[in-house]
Structures are given as structure tokens and as C-alpha cells.
């Protein structure tokens, strides 16, 4: 078997695997997208999985090729110069630099402060969520949000650490006793979503969930008035 044949078979096999995985994930990394922030995160995931798929094929391909070639053909005549060795440091360093800069950009994108957001104070306690609409002094166990308007969610906890996660929102934040944390989101898509507690908080952790609804502004105003 010639070197070229081994290389071809290796890359073909890995390429098929990576293409399958990448196609599945790249099509839609998040199963639901409800906010502008989730859109950014979904885009970032596509970039990360795209890079990962390329690195995966490159590294695994090199690995399988070197092992099979070394097994079948024995010592290679190729010499390893210091230039090649520098490449082993430069390539991952370049990759890390690129994804650090990209991550900082995405982060500032999803954390851009909004003008006049609607404020909702969220209190976590074993094992429930309470949503308090600051402007209208309304309290609810369901999080209902109007589409299109930025919302600042401000979190505290009455007992242990909890974490508020609506997968369709594209981010989560811990509710820590004695501390105030917050996220700002812009709902984009009307629908029903599931909010959960993502930090182990005790016996009822699994059941600590909240119904999340994004509605048109008119429907939201009606709902708020009826509370």
C-alpha cells in the first residue's frame, strides 16, 4: 500500500464522519431560538462546530495516517525541522487567538446594555421561581414577556444557589443568595418555552421549572392587567 492510498482512505473515512456530525449540528445547534441573544449564541455554536470539525478531521487524520503509515511502511525519510516544530505551537496558538477574539465579540454582542428595558425581579427559592414586574408591581409564577422589547431579569435567591436557564434564550445565570445577578434579553419569537433550574438545589431540583411565554404586546398588556 502506498502512502497516498493510506492518506486517502483515512481522510475519506474521517471526512464522512465529521461531515455527518457537522451537518446535523450546523443545521440548527439549538433546538429553539426565542431571543436575539440565542440567535448570537446559535451563530457562535455554528462557528465553533465548524472549526472543531475541521480541526477534528485534520488532527485525527494525521494521527491515523501516521500510525497506519508507520505500521505498514516503517520509518519515514522525511526530517522534522525546527520550522515544522514551530508550526505545532503556532497553529494552536493562532486558533486560540481567533476563538478568544471571536468569543469576546459575541459576548459583548449579547451583553450590550439596552435602552429602558422592562425590569423583572426574579426570586429563586426551593423549589420555585417568582417573577416580579417592577414597573407594574405585579407578581407571577409564570414568566410572560412581550415580543421585541428588551427585558432585564434581575436575580436573587432566598436559600441556596439556583440557576435560571431557558435553553431557547441562549444563556443562563445563577441566582446566588446575598448577591444580585442579571441578564438582558430581547424576545424575538412568540411561543411557549420551558425554564428550568440548572444548578443542583436539593430534593426538588428536577421539578424546579417555570413556564415561559412570549406574546404580542397587546396580549401581554392584557395578561399583565389581569394579574
Amino acid at each position: 500500500m502506498r502512502e497516498r492510498t493510506i492518506l486517502l482512505i483515512t481522510l475519506l473515512g474521517l471526512g464522512i464522519v465529521a461531515a455527518g456530525v457537522a451537518a446535523g449540528v450546523l443545521a440548527q445547534p439549538l433546538s429553539q431560538i426565542a431571543t436575539a441573544e440565542a440567535q448570537s449564541v446559535s451563530q457562535a455554536l455554528k462557528v465553533f462546530f465548524g472549526i472543531s470539525a475541521a480541526v477534528f478531521v485534520g488532527m485525527e487524520g494525521l494521527l491515523v495516517f501516521a500510525a497506519v503509515r508507520g505500521h505498514l511502511l516503517g520509518e519515514s525519510k522525511g526530517k522534522i525541522g525546527s520550522g515544522l516544530e514551530m508550526l505545532w505551537i503556532a497553529l494552536p496558538a493562532l486558533l486560540v487567538a481567533v476563538i478568544v477574539i471571536y468569543s469576546v465579540n459575541v459576548l459583548s454582542d449579547i451583553e450590550t446594555p439596552a435602552n429602558h428595558p422592562m425590569r423583572v425581579r426574579v426570586t429563586a427559592r426551593q423549589f420555585e421561581w417568582e417573577f416580579f414586574y417592577v414597573d407594574s408591581a405585579v407578581s407571577s409564577d409564570t414568566l410572560v414577556l412581550p415580543v421585541g422589547r428588551p427585558v432585564e431579569l434581575v436575580f436573587t435567591s432566598d436559600d441556596v444557589i439556583h440557576s435560571f436557564w431557558v435553553p431557547a434564550f441562549g444563556e443562563k445565570v445563577d441566582a446566588v443568595p446575598g448577591m444580585v445577578t442579571s441578564i438582558t434579553i430581547t424576545p424575538l419569537k412568540v411561543g411557549f418555552y420551558q425554564g428550568v433550574c440548572a444548578e443542583l438545589c436539593g430534593e426538588g431540583h428536577t421539578e424546579m421549572q417555570a413556564e415561559v411565554r412570549i406574546q404580542e404586546l397587546a396580549a401581554f398588556t392584557t395578561w399583565l392587567g389581569s394579574q
Binding site: 449564541v41 472543531s52 494521527l63 505551537i89 468569543s103 441562549g170 428550568v196
Partner: protein
């Protein structure tokens, strides 16, 4: 004492206190695998609970206890003792020492393990610890009963065992320092780098555990301006490096195995050693990556992200060194080498998923999800455990004087690599779908039963490969062929073992 001990043969010498580093090493390894079976059984019960939505035979409290003990046992009583055991057994010989620097300290560090193990198992039956292996405060303070307290005491013993072992390793290497220290075998370099960070990180974990106990007995101790996240800082300052403390020595093992089975020295000995030191150093300053969603000070997130991602540079460098070594050699596919290849193949996946998780905006979405479970299981089982198996097979003939069954070994290597991939890669998809970790049930509408089934099938396959391994080891020791005197199966840095000197 010594003359009597030398005369003891067979299994009996392993059942008593011995200062022989090989006996200590084997004791650590056997204890580690005993707890691996217990932790593995717990994992299978977890798999049963996860099989179908709405199928709940455990409920919240029992499930919390189960995964808390699964995690604590697997990390501190299975993986850690097994890794320490391999190092105890072979480190002196690889640096040309007749015995460990502190033989009795070696024995002491081992006997802490069964004691701590008994406590951990006992805690499971007397109220139980149920705050996860990470045991975040204030939940871990609030958990009623003595179980959580016993858990903390058990961990104090285990972390002490790690620190004492690390001290022993460091002095053993130092006592046999070569004139050019970079010439020291790479396995010893990896142990040195790992031991230094173990000695720096362990006291912080001991402090955290003492504070936790104080808080359980005497009320709030973490009640400061940063309050509930003090534990997280102390815990991750130890637990983030811990993954490297356990993985680095196995990177050292692979750095011995690859050249041995490529029939040539490693292509860049000195810079590989430097890379190991860099990995250890970066491991010490990356703990904040576990706290991006926990109200960590905003300005600290980027430095922690950079430190976490930067570790990919020396790790990738070492993988390239291994690949180049194979490239320039004649590769033999025998059991240790197949485990080394499996290590690399899986570690690339573990590393890439680690890079994804270290990105702050992506971490805010995937933190605490099944994606994290996939990442660290594939990194620890594909990395540390594959390396551990590579090392055990590699040095087995030297340690036992017997040959293992090569066919079963090859089956184990292929089965292990395949099973780890099958078990943990579906977890990445579950995390993306939005499944959080540490829950005993999930909504039927998520449509994830097929992935759960894949994980369960992988777990059963993994369990059977462990059985295959134990069978191979057990029967090879009992009935295996004796190793020929002139056989040079061991690696480049390996010097002939002398008779254990007990001093």
C-alpha cells in the same frame, strides 16, 4: 520487619502494611479498581433511571445521593488511587531509584484510601451526601444528617493521600536528579509537574473542607461580601488542576509508550517536558472558567477564558510530538500502543469540547448541561483512564513477571475506545438540545430516548470491557507465562528493576 516481608509471597503481602513501593502501588491500583466497580454499578443504576421519561424509581433525594457518590467515588476513590498506584509502582524504577524517597509515607498514603472509602460508603447508608461531588455551599451546609459531614471527612483523608503521594514522588525524582535535568524520563517529568500543582492546590481544598465542616457545625463561615461563591473559588482552585494532576502523568505514560512501540526515541524530549510544565502552570490559573454563570466579576471572565483555552497549545504540541514520533518510527500495534492511540483519538474530542466550553458566551448556554458531562467524561475516560490502561499493560510484565493475554488486551483497547466514544458523545447532543445535568427525569417531548439508549448501550459495553481487563489481569497473574529474562518490552526510559530494598 523487612526480612519477614520479603518472604511473604502471593496475595498475602498485599493484605498488610508494606513499605515496598511496588506493593503500595499495586494496593492503590487494586483499591482503585474495586471502587471503580462500585462507582460503575451506581452509573448503571443512573442509566436505568434515565432510560425513559416518567419512569422514576428513585426520586429526587435518592437520585441526588446516587450521582453525588458516583462522582465522588469515581474521582477520589477510583481514578485518583489508580493513577497514584501506577506512579507509586513504577516511578522509582524509571528514575533509577531502588525505592521511594519515603517508603513508610507511601504505605501511610495508601492506607488512608480504604479508611476514606469505608467512610464514603458508610455515608451513603447513614443519611447520605447529596450535594453533588462539587458540593456547592450553601446547599452542602443545608443537607441534613451526618452523611454530608462524613463525606467531607472522607475527602480530607483522600486529598491528604494525594498531597502526601505528590510529596513522595517529588523527592524521589529529586533524589535521583540527572546532571541535565531535562534528560529525566518524560514520565518522571509529567509526575513532577503534576505533583507540584497537587501540592499547591491540595491545601486550598483542605481549607475549603475544614470551612465546610465548621459551617455545618457552627453556622455561617462563608458569610462575606462574596458570600456563597467562596466555596466555588476554593473548590475549583483545587478541582480544576485535579483533572490535570490525574491526566498529566498519563500523558507521561503515553510519552513512554509511543516511542517504545515506534522503535525510536521521542522526537522532542526537552520541549515535551517544558510543555508539561506549561500545562501544569496554566491549570493553576484557570479555575474561574467553572464560574462564568455564577456571578464571577465580569472583568475576570476574559483572563480565565484565555488561561483555559491556552492549555490547548502545549497539549496540541505534545500530540504533534507523538504523531511525529510514529511518523519517524516503525509502529507496532500492541495493547499499550493501541491504548495510546485511543487516548489521542479521544483526547482530541475532549480537548475540542473543552475549547467550546471555555468560550464565555457559549459556556453561559451549555454550563451545567449534558454537554459538560460529555466533555469531562470523554476527557477523563478517554484521557486519564486510557493512559492508565496503557501504563498498566506496558509495565504489567515487569511488575508481575507474567505475560498478559495479548488478544484480550487488543480487544480491551479497541472495546474501551469504542465504548467511551459511544457512551459520551451522545451527551454533547443532549446538552445542545437543552438537557440539564443532575435531574432524574426529563419531559417526553424532548425526544431524547434514543440518545439515552445509546449512552446506556455504551455504558454496558464499557462495563464488559472492564470485566475483560480484570479477567485478563487475574488469570495472567495466576496462570500467565513467565516473562523471558532478555525480553525488552519496556520503554526507552525504563531501567531494569532492582530487588525492592525496604531499608
Amino acid at each position: 520487619m523487612s526480612s519477614q516481608e520479603v518472604q511473604l509471597t502471593g496475595a498475602r503481602r498485599y493484605l498488610r502494611v508494606s513499605a515496598d513501593h511496588e506493593v503500595v502501588g499495586v494496593q492503590f491500583l487494586v483499591a482503585g479498581f474495586a471502587f471503580l466497580l462500585i462507582g460503575g454499578l451506581m452509573a448503571l443504576v443512573i442509566r436505568a433511571e434515565q432510560a425513559l421519561p416518567g419512569f422514576n424509581f428513585l426520586g429526587g433525594e435518592a437520585y441526588n445521593r446516587l450521582f453525588t457518590n458516583h462522582g465522588s467515588i469515581m474521582i477520589f476513590l477510583a481514578l485518583m488511587p489508580a493513577v497514584l498506584g501506577l506512579i507509586h509502582a513504577v516511578l522509582p524504577a524509571t528514575v533509577g531509584a531502588a525505592k521511594a524517597a519515603f517508603p513508610r509515607l507511601g504505605a501511610f498514603s495508601f492506607w488512608l484510601i480504604p479508611l476514606a472509602g469505608m467512610l464514603m460508603l458508610a455515608s451513603f447508608f447513614v443519611g447520605g451526601s447529596s450535594a453533588g461531588w462539587t458540593s456547592y455551599t450553601p446547599l452542602s451546609v443545608q443537607v441534613p444528617g451526618v452523611g454530608q459531614t462524613i463525606w467531607a471527612i472522607s475527602l480530607i483523608l483522600l486529598v491528604s493521600s494525594l498531597a502526601l503521594s505528590a510529596l513522595n514522588f517529588l523527592i524521589t525524582i529529586r533524589n535521583h536528579q540527572l546532571e541535565d535535568r531535562w534528560e529525566t524520563p518524560l514520565f518522571a517529568w509529567s509526575v513532577r509537574a503534576s505533583s507540584v500543582i497537587a501540592l499547591i492546590a491540595s491545601p486550598v481544598m483542605l481549607l475549603a473542607l475544614v470551612l465546610l465542616l465548621a459551617e455545618r457545625f457552627a453556622g455561617p463561615q462563608f458569610d462575606s461580601a462574596i458570600g456563597a461563591t467562596v466555596w466555588q473559588n476554593l473548590f475549583w482552585f483545587f478541582a480544576h488542576p485535579l483533572t490535570l494532576i490525574l491526566t498529566l502523568p498519563m500523558i507521561g505514560v503515553i510519552s513512554e509508550v509511543v516511542p517504545s512501540y515506534s522503535g525510536r526515541p521521542i522526537v522532542a524530549h526537552r520541549s515535551t517536558a517544558i510543555a508539561m510544565v506549561v500545562i501544569a502552570g496554566l491549570g493553576l490559573v484557570a479555575w474561574g472558567q467553572h464560574m462564568f454563570a455564577s456571578g464571577l466579576i465580569d472583568a475576570l471572565r476574559i483572563p480565565f477564558m484565555v488561561a483555559s483555552m491556552a492549555v490547548a497549545i502545549p497539549l496540541t504540541y505534545i500530540v504533534f510530538v507523538w504523531i511525529a514520533t510514529m511518523w519517524q518510527g516503525k509502529v507496532r500495534f500492541e495493547t499499550p500502543m493501541l491504548f495510546a492511540l485511543g487516548f489521542m483519538a479521544l483526547f482530541i474530542i475532549g480537548g475540542l469540547s473543552g475549547l467550546i466550553l471555555a468560550s464565555v458566551p457559549i459556556n453561559l448556554q451549555l454550563h451545567s448541561s449534558y454537554f459538560v458531562l460529555g466533555h469531562f467524561h470523554i476527557a477523563l475516560l478517554g484521557g486519564a483512564i486510557s493512559g492508565l490502561f496503557a501504563g498498566i499493560y506496558y509495565w504489567f510484565p515487569r511488575l508481575s513477571g507474567k505475560e498478559y493475554d495479548e488478544t484480550l488486551g487488543i480487544l480491551h483497547a479497541l472495546g474501551h475506545t469504542g465504548a467511551v466514544f459511544l457512551t459520551y458523545s451522545p451527551m454533547f447532543i443532549l446538552g445542545l438540545i437543552g438537557l440539564r445535568r443532575r435531574v432524574f427525569d426529563y419531559p417526553a417531548g424532548m425526544d431524547i430516548e434514543i440518545y439515552q439508549l445509546g449512552i446506556t448501550a455504551g455504558a454496558l459495553m464499557l462495563a464488559s470491557t472492564v470485566m475483560l481487563f480484570l479477567y485478563n489481569m487475574f488469570f495472567s497473574i495466576l496462570r500467565g507465562e513467565s516473562v523471558e529474562q532478555d525480553r525488552s518490552k519496556a520503554g526507552w526510559s525504563f531501567q531494569p528493576m532492582s530487588e525492592s530494598d525496604l531499608g
